[in-house]
């Protein structure tokens, strides 16, 4: 079997803040194969974006990737690369798309310039060649009259157009992996669908892998083949998309699926699961989801659950794996009993 394109082992990214050490990503391991589309889903604050930034080593102080973490990409460990080496990967072998197409573009340069810059940095292309390549990529992302649009500034383009520009920028060097962090959250519903379609389409054409990070299971269902569910800095469930929607094991995943509005509608906040994600400076002992879980029992307080194998390529960080009969006896979650904030 071929080695995976990206292999993350025990990734821990901590932030050393005044309020204490925030263990935002706390021991995450997963693989992405070549050409595969993997989704990470979870509420805000679960550590999914920090995971994404860690892969490109874009964590700024006071945050840092803890020693012992490994991020193997194309046979090299990103964590220990020298600065020049990691810069050579960014935008070239791995690129990233953010959710804020408004602010992610520099307001004082034309969009063509900004897209072309990628090729100038990595392929040492001449100004003219890089520009032509940029226009080509802009056209590929479906921007009409791309040669004219390239000469415009970000503020002259709509949100959807700007997101296409960012996608063009990400595709410039035909990277092996694209990380898309909530790429459609800031866009109108109709534009969202177009952008997702574009991403899937381009992935097929170019053959890159995609890591899709989102809080929206609808996006996951439409674009990915395998899903990782994150909660409180950890992976709580991992499965193929169909398996996850049909046989979700972790109560948190269940909650997420239940709180899903009809696909294609504007996404509300996930407010069906009672309570909120605990603070990353202060993860609870035992199971981190315990207080919000309708099945929790004393074992959940005593023991931090490992990732149990619950099916083919399906893992879940829930003790229900060893006492499945408890699923038949739900109780009101602790947060509600204690009268703590039930959002």
């Amino acid at each position: 079997m071929m080695p995976p394109l990206l292999s993350i082992r025990d990734l821990r990214t901590y932030f050393y803040t005044e309020a204490g050490v925030a263990r935002s990503v706390d021991g995450v391991s997963f693989n992405i194969g070549a050409g595969e589309t993997v989704g990470i889903v979870g509420e805000s604050g679960c550590g999914k974006s920090v995971t994404a930034l860690s892969i490109l080593r874009l964590i700024q102080p006071p945050g840092r990737i803890e020693p012992g973490s490994r991020i193997e990409f194309e046979g090299r460990d990103i964590v220990t690369l020298r600065d020049e080496e990691i810069r050579d990967i960014r935008g070239n072998r791995i690129s990233m798309i953010f959710q804020e197409p408004m602010s992610a573009l520099n307001p004082v340069f034309t969009v063509g310039d900004q897209v072309a810059e990628v090729a100038r940095v990595h392929a040492r292309m001449s100004k003219k060649d890089a520009w032509e390549r940029a226009v080509e990529m802009l056209a590929l992302t479906g921007i009409p009259a791309a040669d004219e649009r390239a000469k415009q500034y970000p503020h002259q383009l709509s949100g959807g157009m700007r997101q296409r520009v960012l996608i063009a920028m990400a595709l410039m060097m035909k990277p092996a992996l694209i990380i898309a962090d909530e790429p459609t959250t800031a866009l109108d519903v109709t534009i969202q669908a177009q952008i997702l379609e574009l991403l899937v389409d381009l992935q097929k054409k170019i053959g890159t892998s995609i890591l899709m990070i989102t809080h929206d299971l609808g996006v996951i269902a439409e674009t990915t083949s395998r899903v990782i569910v994150m909660y409180a800095g950890e992976i709580v469930e991992e499965a193929a998309v169909d398996e996850l929607f049909a046989k979700a094991h972790h109560p948190y995943t269940e909650g997420l699926i239940h709180s899903m509005p009809h696909i294609g509608h504007d996404q509300e906040r996930l407010n069906v699961i009672p309570g909120t994600v605990p603070a990353p400076t202060d993860w609870p002992h035992g199971c981190r989801f315990r207080d919000r879980c309708p099945y929790s029992w004393d074992l959940c307080e005593r023991e931090h659950p490992p990732l149990y194998q619950v099916g083919v390529g399906h893992a879940s960080r829930c003790h229900l794996a060893i006492e499945p009969e408890r699923r038949g006896h739900p109780h009101p979650p602790l947060v509600v009993e204690e009268g703590v904030e039930a959002a």
Binding site: L56, L58, D83, E84, R87, D88, I89, R90, G91, N92, S95, M96, F98, E100, S103, A104, L105, N106, P107, V108, F109, T110, Q114, E117, V118, V121, H122, Y153, H155, Q156, L166, M169
Partner: protein, 323 residues
């Protein structure tokens, strides 16, 4: 863009008109007749006295005097300087190029130096270098202009006599020099005053620019630049600086009052024959029209400076350019 320009020009015109009114008030706020000293002075010629009376219409009621005064200003008549026995405008016009030269050199120099310091600080933010430079820029920012000028004069003309003591050219020898020697002579005289003003102004520029850069750095588009694989240095130079230059252009406009004030003291201390020296010497001789003329011209310079900076800003910011 054109409409913005027109509006901004109209604003500047209104400001200048108000400045004229304020200068009129200045003259009439003075205790008694502002020219009593002049009028009674037997050394002042009858011609000057008549000109002064005509200029200010001192026997007429105030509103009429005001209308006359504004009318004269509008025609560029700033009154008669009795210490020079020449029109104020002529005195100031002769001195102005020297002031503009001094301020111009210092403006360019201080922004270059200030931006450079800020870039070094931000590239090494949090380091000992950053803190030390912050101390230096705060010291310069807090430094009274005249005191640093005195220190510079002491150090570089007396203790280490590298530069000539004062003036714009060598008072005696300049006449007899060839073209090359004259240019060298001018530069030698310009260096110390211009350098002093540059250093004084650079403190404020560096502090402002450092803050502007630190403001820009957490932006999403800087993260995008990092994502493209640019080095920190390239990011700072290409993306951050370019964006932080916009606030710097506004700072150019805001810097004119401080630069002009600094130039006044520096001209006085280095005997640099500019507007500041003329006005400050006029204080000694109580040459009232010359002082007020200096106030008006100085204010016009400040107004034009901020007008220019605003136009530059509109040109540099693509978000404004289209309008």
């Amino acid at each position: 863009m054109l409409r913005y320009l027109a509006r901004r020009l109209a604003q500047a015109a209104v400001i200048v008109a108000f400045v004229a009114a304020i200068s009129f008030a200045l003259i009439h706020l003075a205790p008694g007749d502002p020219f009593s000293g002049v009028m009674d002075n037997p050394n002042v010629s009858e011609r000057v006295r008549q000109t002064l009376r005509a200029q200010y219409g001192l026997d007429k009621p105030l509103p009429e005097q005001f209308v006359r005064y504004i009318g004269q200003l509008a025609r560029g008549d700033l009154g008669w300087s009795f210490s020079h026995d020449r029109p104020v405008l002529e005195v100031l016009a002769t001195a102005l190029p020297n002031t503009v030269l001094l301020m111009g050199v210092a403006l360019v120099g201080s922004f270059a130096l200030g931006i450079l310091i800020a870039l070094i600080q931000v590239a090494k933010r949090g380091s000992a270098t950053d803190h030390a430079l912050s101390g230096v820029t705060l010291l310069l920012f807090s430094m009274p202009d005249f005191w640093l000028a005195i220190l510079a004069l002491l150090t570089f003309t007396y203790w280490l006599p590298i530069f000539p003591v004062g003036g714009a050219v060598d008072a005696v020898m300049h006449e007899y020099m060839g073209l090359g020697a004259r240019i060298v002579d001018r530069l030698r005289h310009l260096t110390l005053p211009a350098l002093t003003l540059t250093v004084l102004a650079a403190g404020g520029v560096a502090r402002y620019q450092r803050a502007a850069l630190l403001d820009v750095l957490p932006s999403d588009y800087i993260r995008t630049a990092r994502l493209k694989g640019l080095s920190e240095r390239e990011i700072l130079r290409r993306h951050a600086l370019r964006n932080a230059l916009l606030p710097i252009i506004s700072l150019i406009g805001l810097s004119f009052p401080a630069l002009l004030t600094g130039a006044f003291f520096i001209e006085k201390i280095f005997a640099w024959p500019g507007m500041g020296l003329a006005v400050i010497n006029a204080i000694g001789t109580r040459d009232y029209p010359l002082v007020v003329g200096g106030v008006i011209i100085g204010s016009i310079m400040v107004t034009l400076g901020s007008l220019l900076a605003d136009m530059l800003y509109a040109l540099a910011d693509p978000r404004l350019r289209g309008r």
